[in-house]
Amino acid sequence: MIQLYNVSKRYSRDSVAVKDLSVKIDKGEFVYVTGASGAGKTTFLRMLYIAERPTRGQILVDGQNITRIRSHQIPYLRRKIGVVFQDFKLLQSRTVFENVAFALEAQGKKRFEVSKKVYQALKEVGLEHRLQRKPLELSGGEQQRIAIARALVVDPLILLADEPSGNLDQDVTMDIMELFKRANARGTTVLLATHDYSLHRRFPRRVLTLDEGKLVGDQRPLEMATAKQ
């Protein structure tokens, strides 16, 4: 589903965010991307939805070389990818329903289809009773669940989450992780960038570890268990 070959991202001569990164992620995998602040986790994810272009190397997403993609094709690639951020990125002037519907409207979906899918997505995250509320009237956890509903409502092939639990307490984080696991169980490939090591201890999955832009670890749950022993 995702393949990176010798990918580097350099912002300036002295600032290298990602260095010679090669990795392969299969369809339906759940992968943590970990590392300290500044390790290159966010840049890695941003390159996958083409918010950044790599300086060197090739990236393939769903068989498509996205390093050579033309600007007008980017929206169509992004429709295959759901993105969740630490700061939620919700439109505060719009209702919960409108925020989730926005993703479908942007893809030109019909009105009846939009209403049906938005309701289903909000039900999935347990917020179907908050349809007409504005995001600021809700808690941080609820806002993140809306953001997840917005990312999932388009049935993405890939779900990218950049520190989704960064602003949330432990209980809410567990709820959010359940949502990601459910999406993954339905076949969505999930990449979750976090520096919270407790997450992969509780929900063991493959872990990619970055340090100063370089891939320094790629462990699968079995290897992790063996390493522990």
Partner: protein, 298 residues
């Protein structure tokens, strides 16, 4: 298609409702800018109209070296009528000229006692059509007059005409220069106001791009919004001009020292009024487009 038009229109209107202050700021900026340009245009047009009235006095007087016979006057008048640009022809015989002179002198007419009645030269006074009341037009006619008439001297207020020409050219130059400057300033102010309104909504633009909206999907509602704001701005500027104009008329234009009694101030024609509103729409759309380019990066 209908669904798309409905969706984009609703989104444009909803955006305007959600950001009433920004929307009003954009509309008022456009209204004030358009009204300023249109006011300037009206000032230039009215000064030109006023100046054009002064040229109504322009005529060419051809003094003849010998008084023509009655038949010659008829023949020459017919020849002169053939010249393009000639509006009126009036023959003044030496006797008629003396009579005029006498009238001019009034109580001092005794000064003319003993002077021959045919002392003054015969002349033709030639009035010109409005489109020939300028230096080049007059020079063409004067050249033809010299061919047809036994001319001794030709008078048409050369110095005044040269000065008038300089004045009109300067007026047009200043009009074009200031008009261009105003237009540039308007474009700059409107684009920046719209940029400011979009800056406040950059999150929305970012999220749109993130969820896979195409450039067309992102741009159309904003362009539509710009068009609606420009349309309202254009109408407002027209209303402002209309009200100001009727106020000036009701106060009496003859109160101004430079306007003749029967002078009617010119207002924008129907076509120009339509152009003003269309200019508002174009301004709004272009302003949105140029600002969107800065904020939307896919």
């Amino acid at each position: 298609m209908l669904e798309a038009i409905r969706y984009f229109s609703l989104r444009a209107l909803r955006n305007m409702r959600q950001w009433p202050f920004l929307c009003m700021a954009a509309i008022l900026t456009m209204a004030i800018s358009l009204a300023t340009i249109a006011t300037f245009f009206l000032i230039v047009v009215n000064i030109e109209q006023l100046a054009a009235r002064w040229t109504g006095e322009i005529q060419v007087i051809a003094y003849l070296n010998t008084p023509p016979s009655q038949q010659d006057v008829v023949r020459l008048t017919e020849d002169l009528e053939q010249i393009e640009g000639v509006e009126t022809i009036s023959y003044v015989s030496p006797a008629a000229a003396m009579e005029r002179f006498r009238d001019h002198l009034g109580t001092d007419e005794s000064l003319l006692e003993g002077i021959r009645a045919d002392l003054l030269p015969a002349s033709f006074e030639i009035g010109l059509l409005p489109e020939f009341r300028h230096q080049e037009g007059i020079e063409i006619i004067v050249a033809r007059l010299e061919e047809i008439l036994p001319v001794d001297d030709l008078r048409y207020g050369q110095t005044w005409l040269e000065r008038f020409n300089t004045f009109i050219n300067m007026l047009r130059f200043i009009g074009a220069f200031l008009g261009g400057f105003l237009l540039f300033a308007t474009l700059f102010i409107v684009a920046n106001t719209i940029r400011l309104t979009l800056y406040a909504r950059r999150d929305e633009l970012e999220i749109m791009a993130l969820v896979g909206a195409t450039m067309r999907f992102i741009k159309i509602p904003f362009m539509l919004e710009g068009a609606i704001q420009g349309f309202i701005g254009g109408l407002l500027s027209l209303m402002f001009l209309g009200v100001s104009f009727s106020l000036i008329i009701s106060r009496g234009v003859d109160a101004f020292w430079l306007t003749p009694v029967d002078f009617d101030l010119l207002f924008l024609t129907a076509g120009q009024q339509l152009l003003l509103v269309v200019a508002g729409v174009v301004l709004g759309v272009l302003g949105s487009l140029s600002s969107l380019r800065r904020f939307v990066r896919i």
